[in-house]
């Protein structure tokens, strides 16, 4: 297969470009979007590359249509992605819930800007963490990933596709305006250097008749894609294992929602990824995700130089959240600090996880600038 960009070597590219290239290498062949700063460059890259790799890139009438189109494409067998920013992400929430309910693998990228409303289109924020996790209505479970470097944006995009396919679920990739536009050195691997996971297809007629069942006991039903003769009915209504609407029986809803939760939560260890810096002997822990982690790493180095035992937990997966790990962390330190570019969203999760075992303090920042390492370090030494 020929690729429209160099593979097997490093390149100096912005985060948006890295996400587009990663998607193509992960097997994405359908992109639908609506332009919005700071995610437009993902679309522009996809528009350039997709026709060359026999894929589709289409500009829809709005974000509601974009996510609808990628869900349709996924049921037709394609790996599909859309990218947007806060206001567009809000518009996608209805169909994000539909993708959860119908267990459709899709990847939705949200390059966060400052908000609410139109806010600061060209400035970064982390204001959509809660929206990504709980934005759509009803009880639901999905996966949210959050990169902090352009290389991570590349790697986590591939991971987003793999997790979406493996668990038949929408995956949200949370970047931000800073990451979207900054250029960094990224290694673009050759296809055989990447692990690519494809969705389970029904092995036989019997499995195909249970598109929302659990024939393998892992909570993830094989996906009978359209046009293969299985005649699958897919609905956002509460449905039984066959896909038939059963909206007035409490136990059917309980079973369906229960499995959608379970298939993610039972595989938490596989899904959750993070990095630890200097936490082994730390008195003070910093927990962060995304772009802020870069300042946090520098802050930890500065503090260590000054003899302060500080460490960092850098989360690559924002949801599902490992509350137990945070509690364990809290047991070993006096204090946890949560620097984030909002008025406190990750903070709530960390505080719940710490469960009173350590003091948890928020270092909020809004306005469109990333915390400086000094700002974080100063808070740590108090």
């Amino acid at each position: 297969m020929r690729y429209p960009f160099p593979v097997g070597k490093a390149d100096f590219i912005p985060g948006d470009e890295a996400i587009a290239r990663a998607a193509i290498l992960a097997g994405c062949r359908f992109y639908a979007g609506y332009p919005i700063t700071p995610a437009s460059e993902i679309f522009e890259a996809m528009a350039l590359y997709m026709p060359l790799v026999d894929g589709v890139s289409i500009q829809m009438e709005d974000e509601l249509g974009s996510i609808a189109a990628i869900i349709g494409a996924s049921w037709a067998g394609a790996k599909a992605m859309t990218a947007t920013s806060g206001p567009g992400f809000s518009l996608m929430q209805e169909n994000l819930g539909y993708a959860v309910m119908t267990e459709t693998p899709i990847v939705v990228v949200n390059m966060m800007r400052g908000g609410p409303s139109t806010g600061q289109p060209t400035f970064p924020s982390q204001g959509d963490i809660m929206q990504a996790i709980w934005g759509t209505h009803g009880d639901h479970m999905l996966i949210v990933l959050s990169p902090s470097t352009v290389q991570e944006a590349f790697d986590l995009t591939i991971r987003a596709f793999n997790l979406a396919e493996k668990y038949r679920t929408p995956v949200v990739l949370l970047g931000d305006a800073e990451l979207a536009h900054m250029r960094e050195r990224v290694y673009i691997p050759t296809p055989d250097e990447i692990e690519v996971i494809n969705r389970k297809l029904p092995a036989n007629e019997e499995e195909a008749r249970l598109p929302f069942g659990d024939p393998h006991g892992d909570g993830v039903p094989p996906m009978p894609i359209f046009g293969k003769g299985y005649r699958t009915y897919v609905t956002g209504l509460t449905h039984d294992e066959n896909g038939h609407p059963r909206t007035v029986e409490p136990e059917v809803q309980e079973r369906l929602i229960g499995r959608i939760y379970r298939k993610i939560l039972d595989h938490k260890d596989d899904i959750i990824s993070y990095e630890k810096f200097g936490l082994d002997d730390a008195d003070v822990a910093i927990v962060s995700t995304g772009i802020v982690s870069r300042s946090a790493i520098r802050a930890v180095k500065m503090l260590r130089e000054r003899g302060v035992k500080a460490g960092l937990l850098k989360l690559h997966t924002v949801w599902p959240f490992d509350f137990d790990m945070i509690e364990e962390l809290a047991e070993g330190v006096k204090k946890i600090l949560v620097p984030e570019m909002n008025m406190g969203q990750l903070y709530h999760l960390v505080k719940e996880g710490a469960n009173g075992k350590a003091e948890v303090e928020l270092i909020p920042k809004v306005g469109g600038e990333v915390h400086t390492p000094m700002e974080i370090a100063e808070k740590v030494v108090g």
Partner: protein, 281 residues
């Protein structure tokens, strides 16, 4: 025209385990569904090459009753989902079974843009002038003066002419009938299914329970007589003045043209891209 026994059509195409349907007595959706299935049967399409999509509302439950691949989506968005299905697998033929709210209210934007792109899809539109499933609220198609639960004193807004909208937006095939024009209806669906690009067959469809009851037409026969009164065939309408056409609904075939469909346009675009990048001669 030879018509197959209705039971044969039912046995061949419906999912028996899903019956009975949710449709009320006197509802016209079953008729439009039957016309669609007869058209598919006459044309000899395989059940495995057609995907049904729908939004929300009474008519959107249809894909659940037919034994085909089907996607019952969110309100108004059926055609956006269809865009993804069709472009990801152009071998699939798509039937969108939609209501008037789905098409012209919440889905109005998707509707005009799907037509502008000339998305390869056949829309079977159930127009019953009301929001049936939610209990008889007025729709963008409700004629002036008619009552709904959200306009208890009679609709004060102007209605959409959905077929007219589709013609101006550029659809390749557009026709409108009442469900009582069954031969014209079946023939139109057959034409529509064979069209490249966007095709629309709109049916005025009785809803005695939610709509008729509030407008002194409690039964389907009463609605039938009302349709006879308000519908005007296209040829006759051409000779009528705008004043005479006030409050009437024109029926007939409004567009039949052959602009390139979205799939063909995209495939050409893909080839152009490869040539421009020097990937292909």
């Amino acid at each position: 025209m030879y018509l197959k026994d209705a039971y044969d059509v039912r046995d061949k195409y419906l999912r028996k385990e899903m019956l009975p349907t949710i449709f009320c007595p006197g509802c016209g959706i079953g008729s439009a569904l039957q016309f669609t299935l007869r058209a598919i049967d006459d044309l000899g399409y395989s059940q495995d090459e057609i995907v049904w999509v729908s939004g929300i509302g009474c008519s959107s439950r249809v894909p659940g009753y037919v034994n085909f691949d089907g996607l019952h989506t969110t309100h108004g968005r059926a055609l956006a989902f269809a865009t993804g299905i069709k472009l990801a697998n152009p071998d699939l033929k798509i039937i969108a079974f939609m209501g008037d709210g789905d098409t012209s209210a919440i889905g109005g934007n998707h509707f005009i843009h799907a037509i502008r792109r000339n998305l390869d899809v056949t829309v079977i539109l159930i127009n019953n002038f009301t929001y049936g499933m939610t209990g008889g609220q007025v729709a963008p198609t409700t004629l002036k003066g008619l009552k709904g639960t959200t306009a208890p004193y009679g609709q004060f807004e102007n209605p959409f002419d959905i077929a007219g909208l589709a013609v101006s937006a550029g659809a390749n095939y557009v026709a409108r009938w009442s469900v009582f024009n069954y031969l014209q209806g079946i023939n139109s669906i057959k034409k529509a299914l064979q069209k490249e690009g966007f095709s629309l067959v709109e049916f005025l469809s009785p809803c005695p329970v939610s709509f008729g009851r509030r407008n002194r037409m409690k039964t389907a026969p009463e609605l039938l007589r009302w349709y006879q009164k308000i519908t005007v065939p296209l040829n006759k309408a051409k000779k009528m003045s705008p004043e005479e056409l006030e409050g009437k609904v024109v029926i007939g075939e409004f567009a039949d043209r052959d602009r390139p469909g979205l799939v063909r346009s995209y495939m050409e675009y893909r080839e152009r891209a490869k040539k421009m990048m020097g990937w292909e001669e």
